[in-house]
Symmetry: C2
Subunit: 283 residues, 2 copies
């Protein structure tokens, strides 16, 4: 049997970072064609010392999921466009990364320092429906979006107000918060408004307005619920004393050269930003 | 046709929080049995004004994925134990929550204040393999685990050192960091050691030791890579001046009564903790 014949009997994979291979199937295939190829490939990979197999089945190849599981694969995760199965065939514990476990929520404390008013909304649906509670604009960070960008986007979408990011004031974690098992980390961000005329979003927002900060903080809901009282208290402290110090952002790069934001103590962030500025202008 | 007959022709669902229903199938079913029931149910739900359908298929019911997609369902997410499909049948934009988009990484700055030494490791595999770089212990927070707990666990697993959580010093976001599309948020945490004798983990850790902090910071890798230089610099600032202020943790509850941690400016966190202490002892 020559190489070409052998290749036609095997699934083609590329190396991954965990001593394994990734197989990406996108063309329709019958079970009768798939199963012998998968079995032969598993023997081949095992002989090669391959540790783990990723099997990515495009939407439309769902007929191959059950047969792959019958050969020892398990579902790792799935998106609208594909299902990812894995099989760890090495004799050592699996080092494959787990599925995504969190989503990132943002809340925006948009403070008009001149009037000491804060931007608040009432939502049409959701947790606060019908309560009359005025809340900070909130939302979920999109896949691939930075936290500070998500906060700016949500405020502009909901209220039409344009803002600049100031800092992260605090964050909290809430487990089993969505999809039954996943965790929500919520970042409370201070933003500085650069426009003041409200144009509310009609589909999600019942009402939006600028509200005196004491009135916002003193709402019974914020006083009764500890987490809300803490956060409201923190916003008030920020306004009253300007001593509260959050995490500002510094643009940097990861070791592989990708753009990345570091969030740290505001004084330190300003120092790092100044250092970056010097570095880029002195070159 | 009486109610019992009608029920046997429909899939049974329970209301969700988005004006829809959740169907949870766990018993094996043939395609021939499933498709007429799904079609009849979709007509029934549509007449009821149901907005969206969640269809959870347990592992083993993979034969029903393709037929469900043929009726308009798409894959929302999947875990080892199930595949979740959804169909949004209302005439308004979908309000279903997106799939999980992030994972949470932790790095531990474990500082022995008496000796001014920091706990460092070399890993057997991974990004730093063969570089000789001494790095902070790092790891991934498990599903349902708190950030501060993940940091403590990773340090003890890798080095045997027991610690107390002090504060979050900084965090950074890195997109397309794993599973091709997902984001990694990495929290740099300061921990205080309560034991000092190192017992390293043999499967992942090549070497572990206490290293003078200047020696750690001055490694060429930390100086050349901006993100690492920033973080090392920040650890040094923390030791030298003790002025750097991070986010400490306060135990609180969400509005639904679940335990939840709020991370905020250390001074404020201490104040909140004191307030909680008073509240619980004065009752």
């Amino acid at each position: 049997m020559d190489n070409e014949d052998q290749e036609s009997l095997l699934l083609q994979g590329v190396p991954d970072n965990y001593g394994g291979v990734k197989v990406n199937l996108t063309e329709p295939m019958t079970i009768e064609d798939f199963v012998p190829k998968l079995r032969a490939s598993l023997v081949y990979w095992s002989n090669q010392g391959t540790k783990g197999i990723w099997l990515k089945l495009a939407d439309g190849l769902d007929n191959l999921i059950a047969p792959a599981k019958a050969e020892g694969f398990v579902c790792h995760h799935a998106e609208r466009e594909y299902t990812m199965l894995t099989s760890w065939i090495a004799d050592v514990p699996s080092t494959l990364p787990a599925n995504a476990s969190h989503r990132i929520g943002v809340g925006a404390f948009v403070l008009n320092k001149k009037t000491k008013e804060v931007l608040v909304v009432q939502e049409i649906d959701g947790h606060f429906k019908g309560t009359g509670v005025w809340k900070l604009p909130t939302g979920v960070v999109k896949e691939g979006e930075n936290i500070w960008e998500g906060a700016l986007r949500e405020v502009e979408e909901e209220t039409g107000i344009k803002t600049k990011f100031v800092e992260v004031l605090a964050f909290r974690e809430s487990h089993q918060a969505f999809l039954e098992i996943k965790t929500d980390i919520f970042f409370l961000c201070e933003l500085e408004p650069t426009t003041f005329e409200i144009k509310k979003q009609d589909s999600e927002i019942l009402a939006a307005k600028w509200m005196p900060i004491e009135e916002y903080v003193n709402q019974p809901w914020n006083q009764k619920k500890e987490l809300f009282r803490f956060m409201a208290n923190l916003c008030l402290k920020r306004l009253q004393e300007m001593e509260y110090m959050g995490f500002s952002k510094v643009l940097t790069t990861t070791s592989s050269g990708k753009e990345s934001y570091l969030y740290c103590n505001t004084d330190h962030a300003n120092l790092l930003n100044a250092t970056r500025g010097l570095a880029s202008t002195s070159g």
